[in-house]
């Protein structure tokens, strides 16, 4: 069994950079609940590839600019 990926993300930073977007607004645009955005920002949940791509699309950036692998290499 593979180890859990140690992902970090810049969602909170990107929200504030995008006109202080609320968690609810991001959740609505990414098609998830606000609780999932909270869990993502707290690093308690690793998203699926599809969700990672949807979040990156909301911020109009590449997925690598949102999610980074914890070992120092980019996701």
């Amino acid at each position: 069994m593979a180890a859990k990926p140690d992902l970090s993300n810049r969602i909170r930073r990107l929200r504030f950079d995008h006109g202080e977007m609320t968690q609810q607004e991001l959740a609505d645009r990414a098609g998830v609940t606000r609780q999932t955005i909270i869990a993502l920002e707290a690093g308690r949940y690793n998203p699926s590839l599809a969700l990672a791509l949807r979040i990156a699309r909301v911020f109009e950036v590449a997925v690598e600019e949102v999610f980074t692998l914890g070992d120092g290499r980019e996701a």
Binding site: P5, T33, N46, S48
Partner: protein
């Protein structure tokens, strides 16, 4: 609190209340063919009511379940299923080792009535507890 978490709390309350009332009634009136104790499992009907939680949000077009909720639901159900099977297999092979392979057991039919209900209660208890814990602790998603 999330919709699924609220559902889990109501399920936990219903299953605990049903098991507790069943035990109290068994202590008071005993367990026999005319015992009213299995009626306590009627409280499990509240589990059906728990499924109604979130209907308003769903009708309003809100996202009430996403991939994280499905993952938590999957993990909680898997755990409850495993506990159920462990108990089921334990109950099946326990008498073999405790009483011996040649022992003839007489099981009253009323025991057959409430045994599946107790099993359902245990399933709901483990499932709802796991759901609550996973929401509190946070699910880290599927492993890569």
């Amino acid at each position: 609190m999330h919709v699924q978490e609220r559902q889990a709390w109501l399920t936990l309350v219903a299953a605990t209340a049903a098991l507790t009332l069943f035990c109290v009634l068994v202590a008071l009136v005993g367990l026999g063919s005319r015992s009213v104790a299995p009626a306590a499992f009627g409280l499990l009907g509240l589990v059906g009511a728990a499924r109604r939680i979130g209907t308003r949000e769903r009708k309003a077009g809100k996202v009430v379940m996403d991939e994280r909720d499905h993952e938590i639901e999957r993990m909680a159900t898997l755990l409850a299923y495993n506990v159920f099977w462990a108990l089921f297999v334990g109950a099946a092979i326990g008498p073999f080792f405790l009483l011996g392979p040649g022992t003839i057991m007489r099981v009253p039919t009323y025991a057959l009535t409430f045994t599946p209900l107790v099993a359902v209660c245990v399933f709901f208890l483990v499932n709802s507890l796991a759901t609550i814990v996973l929401y509190r602790r946070g699910s880290h998603g599927r492993e890569a």
